[in-house]
């Protein structure tokens, strides 16, 4: 990396029931960002160019995972940030929220096994030209933990071929499919490429002291920090 300044501010939203917000903030800080805690009831975001919707069980996963969180006041601001080209990353429950909000295609259904899965999984990086995978190599194999009961990504045949054709599939499970996701999809981006959701938890694979010792999550979150830094500089130049 050529520069580590300025320190990009990245918002981390806490919904009632979020439980990985602190881990996400901790990981972002370790990677050189300045995380800013945002409460779901806030109707605006602080001055940021990137926001992370963390994992957890917002609103107890009632009705459908992410279905209630999508109407939280802060989500209007997240939608506006995304529409203006800001970066949005949804991890696990955050991914479910983004799908429910229509900011990402598809839906997340209960795992095929009906079991909660919690383990490190191998992933393949399909695309490196996104703000979330810039530090990765194409085809690179990452080991990152998953922990979810509803991570089965669903897209009908038409939507799936659209996603494949437009290169919106960024991460796939390698080998055994842990939850029954179509085409082994672990992470997708929107058509514009500035909103991403993934079921694996990169924030749990940044500090080698946590989990199995993999730090592959730093490649993904570090990419976001890099992109947020560039976005801050560019945005400042425009305005």
């Amino acid at each position: 990396m050529s520069t580590t300044e300025p320190k990009p501010r990245i918002a981390v939203v806490t919904f009632p029931g979020s439980n990985d917000d602190r881990d996400a903030a901790h990981a972002l800080a370790q990677l050189g960002a300045e995380p800013v805690a945002v409460w779901h009831a806030d109707d605006e975001l602080p001055d940021v160019r990137a926001v992370v919707l963390p994992g957890g069980f917002s609103y107890g996963d009632y009705l459908r995972a992410g279905a209630l969180a999508r109407f939280a006041p802060v989500m209007e601001a997240v939608r506006a940030l995304a529409a203006g080209g800001g970066l949005v990353l949804g991890i696990c429950n955050g991914f479910q929220v983004l799908c429910e909000a229509g900011l990402l295609p598809g839906a997340l259904r209960p795992n095929h096994s009906l079991s909660f899965v919690c383990r490190d999984v191998p992933l393949t990086v399909e695309r490196t030209d996104t703000p979330f995978t810039g530090r990765c190599a194409k085809g690179q194999r990452l080991s990152i933990p998953i922990k979810h009961g509803e991570g089965c990504f669903f897209a009908g045949p038409e939507l799936l071929s659209e996603l494949e054709a437009s290169g919106q599939i960024v991460l796939r499970y390698e080998g055994e499919n842990p939850n029954g996701s179509v085409a082994g999809i672990a992470g997708v981006v929107n058509a514009e490429g500035n909103v991403m959701g993934l079921m694996p938890h990169p924030e749990h694979a940044v500090d080698p002291l946590i989990g199995s010792g993999s730090t592959d999550g730093a490649l993904l979150l570090g990419s976001l920090v890099d992109a947020a830094r560039v976005s801050v500089v560019e945005h400042a130049a425009v305005s």
């Binding site: 009705l63 459908r64 109407f71 839906a107 259904r109 009906l114 009908g156 029954g180």
Partner: protein, 81 residues
């Protein structure tokens, strides 16, 4: 006015809950060909106008109660006796 909304996984959507229920029913010796598990939402509506209530219910389903990508819904309106 009261309403009952039935939300079901759409045909073709794999329903692991339904499969688990099916397996258990068969284990109990019942001859069951298929099982699908959905959701029931009972609502008490403050709006007395039937047409308006139906329109509201449609919007409730589209916006929140069902995810139209993966679920279908059915609305039953019940007039108060």
């Amino acid at each position: 006015m009261r309403a009952t909304v039935l939300v079901r996984p759409k045909p073709g959507i794999l329903d692991p809950q339904g499969e688990a229920v099916l397996g258990s029913l068969r284990q109990l010796g019942f001859a069951v060909g298929d099982a699908r598990v959905g959701r029931v939402v009972d609502l008490e509506l403050e709006n007395g106008d039937r047409e308006q209530a139906r329109a509201d219910l449609e919007r409730m389903c589209e916006q929140l109660l069902a995810n139209p990508l993966i679920e279908s819904y059915e609305i039953e309106l019940v007039e108060d006796a």
